[in-house]
């Protein structure tokens, strides 16, 4: 994969505080926007919108692992399950009321993410020694193990987990704000990580792990970091979906779910964050529009994967982005090719 052959004319750089302020404003603006949408949209369309939000989170976080760091993981649904169950079990147990709801929501979503990240560490530290297809199989195995454990766990202490019957009766507190707020934070975090100096280390590992190690990149550290961060946001996405749907079915977090997320990353272009978002929107929205051919949905997924690999393996956008973000350096050519980059790195 070439590193961004296409250079955009850089937009005027904005001070970081302006960007941060703008992002905070957008985040705050999601709340009234959500209230309006929830009243205006019909429930079916809102449902699709929320699903789009959840899938954006999943696709972008997997993109950090698969696309940006180049570690092919097939266990993303397992981390999602960890987050979903953590949030679902806690919410169902405590049943927050009134003013507690936003605080508890924030708490359980973060906790779900942290637990998923811990699972990511546990999985990542041993398996990231493996490469390519072996890594894919090992992560797939871990995803299935997480699933088997959930299916065989009726309860942990006084917390009811539900076992193979699934977890029902989770209070529904997720809404447009929580979903897209979390998605926004996920996108911003991954974006800033990917297009920072640390992001160069991720990309270096993707391009050639041995060369990256020889250049002094601590490959294990960065691979595990990418894995844990990806798992964190998968956990948050799981938490949101748990408290949006109100029930959890362990079967829905199996291998096939991971494949769906991989399909989004592949379709969008491995390494492209906007591509992942675009693909998440398309692959969530399109099947809903094709309700009439619902049974063809997964067949179309499969054909998309195969044909994509044959005709455009780089995905829709390759590893480019739709547009450059003002004030953020693009992962330009190497410092020697770009004379002023070194100075900017100092700044």
């Amino acid at each position: 994969m070439s590193v961004n052959a296409l250079t955009f004319r850089r937009l005027p750089q904005l001070p970081v505080w302006v960007i941060n302020l703008a992002l905070t404003a957008i985040l705050a603006g999601l709340w009234p926007l959500g209230r309006v949408l929830e009243h205006q949209l019909n429930p079916y369309f809102l449902q699709i919108l929320i699903l789009v939000g959840i899938n954006i989170m999943l696709a972008v976080s997997l993109n950090l692992v698969n696309g940006i760091t180049g570690q092919f993981s097939l266990g993303h649904a397992g981390f999602m399950a960890v987050g979903a169950y953590a949030a679902g079990v806690l919410l169902r147990h405590y049943q927050p009321q009134g003013w507690e709801i936003p605080l508890v929501m924030l708490g359980v979503l973060c906790l779900g993410g942290v637990l998923a990240a811990l699972a990511g560490l546990v999985v990542g530290i041993p398996t990231l020694r493996l490469q390519g297809d072996y890594l894919a199989i090992a992560t797939l195995g871990f995803g299935e193990i997480i699933n088997v454990v959930i299916i065989n766990t009726e309860s942990v202490g006084s917390f009811y987990v539900g076992g193979s019957a699934g977890l029902h009766g989770i209070p529904i507190h997720a809404n447009f704000f929580w979903t897209f707020g979390a998605a926004l934070i996920c996108i911003v975090c991954v974006w800033r990580l990917a297009y920072s100096n640390k992001g160069k280390a991720f990309a270096a590992i993707r391009e050639d792990e041995i060369a990256a190690g020889a250049m002094g990149v601590n490959t294990t550290y960065y691979k595990v970091a990418a894995f844990a961060i990806g798992a964190f946001f998968a956990g948050v996405a799981g938490g949101v979906s748990a408290t949006w749907f109100g029930n959890l079915d362990p079967e829905s977090f199996r291998f096939m779910r991971s494949i769906e997320i991989v399909a989004m990353v592949v379709l969008g272009g491995s390494g492209s964050i906007t591509g992942a978002i675009l693909a998440a929107v398309v692959l969530t929205w399109l099947p809903e529009q094709l309700r009439a051919v619902q049974e063809w949905r997964l067949v179309i997924y499969a054909l998309v994967l195969i044909l994509m690999m044959i005709f455009r393996p780089a995905g829709l956008l390759g590893n480019r982005e739709l547009w450059p973000i003002p004030g953020r350096r693009r992962p330009g050519p190497s410092p020697t090719a770009d004379p002023d980059s070194r100075q900017r790195m100092m700044a």
Binding site: D133, M256, V299, A302, I306, I310
Partner: protein, 306 residues
């Protein structure tokens, strides 16, 4: 003691089908360094086609000795054609691409076959019992009936053993087998030596798929036929191949048998509250092997060259 012997028999019988599937994985990996994700689905298609063949043969013959060979050979034929098509359409155009690209394509093929089989016109999502062509009946048993060897165990072990012999002969005794070994040793060099690698690859896929078809037929008779039946046995057989050392043919057989034995022993001896974890055994085993000895029992160590 009797229980242990019975568990060992069951384990070997299950392990034999894993070994048959694992052979397909290991041969393809040996040549292309590709995990053929669709292999579990080839096994499923083997089960489905043997289901239809059994239904068809039962329409005109009652004799097991006529019907069974037709069912087995017929499903082998169907699957080898399928294996050829999969390789030709989904993998061959990607020959020079990175391995992950081919892996994703393989996942796509697997997904495609699973979902095509769920169409009611083709098979439908509900599990079906195998036609009453052959019933599980005890063949050998001791006086107390604590050790029972059923005709299905005999069929499973017998077919596996027979196919192993044929396979050993093909790989070690024929010119195609020599070419096959050469291609798996050095792909590029064998091409320079005038081996038609494309044909050898097609042959490998057809051969591996035919073996998976036999495993599919056995499991279709033993359990039932489902469109998603290929997923778990496929993964477990892959683990078996890794355990034996992927790329190694005897390794796949040993790995498959070990896999079957360990699974049945876990199911048989763990307290009943934990039997649900039996499916996880394969994956725990896989991760342990990959960490302790990634080349498996019989695998060659291939140093990475920069």
């Amino acid at each position: 003691m009797d229980q242990l012997i019975q568990q060992l028999i069951n384990g070997l019988s299950v392990g034999a089908t894993y070994a048959l599937i694992a052979l397909g994985y290991t041969m393809v990996y040996g040549i292309l360094r590709l995990i053929n994700f669709a292999h579990g689905e080839v096994y499923m298609v083997g089960a489905v086609s043997s289901y239809y063949l059994a239904e068809w043969t039962m329409g005109w013959t009652g004799s097991l000795w006529v019907a069974l060979p037709i069912v087995v050979v017929g499903s082998m034929l169907v699957c080898s054609i399928l294996g050829f098509l999969i390789e030709f359409l989904a993998y061959r155009p990607l020959r020079d691409r990175p391995r992950l690209v081919v892996l994703i394509s393989a996942i796509g093929v697997s997904l495609l076959l699973q979902n095509l089989a769920q169409f009611p016109e083709l098979f439908g999502p509900t599990p079906r019992r195998f036609p009453a062509l052959i019933q599980s009946t005890p063949v050998f048993y001791n006086a107390a009936h604590t050790i029972v060897l059923t005709n299905l165990d005999v069929l499973s072990l017998g077919l596996t053993l027979g196919l192993m012999v044929i396979m050993t002969w093909v790989v070690l005794g024929t010119k195609t087998g020599l070419a096959l070994r050469a291609v798996s040793f050095r792909f590029d060099t064998s091409m320079l030596m005038g081996i038609n690698t494309g044909r050898i690859i097609s042959f490998t896929f057809m051969f591996g798929s035919a073996l998976a078809a036999v495993a599919g037929t056995i499991d279709a008779i033993r359990y039932d036929v489902r469109p998603l039946m290929g997923l778990l046995p496929g993964l477990k057989a892959f683990v078996a191949a890794v355990l034996g050392g992927i790329g190694s043919i005897p390794g796949a057989v040993v790995g498959g048998l070990f896999m079957g034995l360990s699974e049945t022993l876990v199911k048989g001896y763990l307290p009943s509250a934990y039997t649900g974890y039996a499916d996880a055994v394969a994956f725990v085993l896989l991760i342990v092997i990959l960490l302790v000895r990634p080349t498996g029992l019989f695998g060659r160590v291939a140093p990475e060259k920069v």
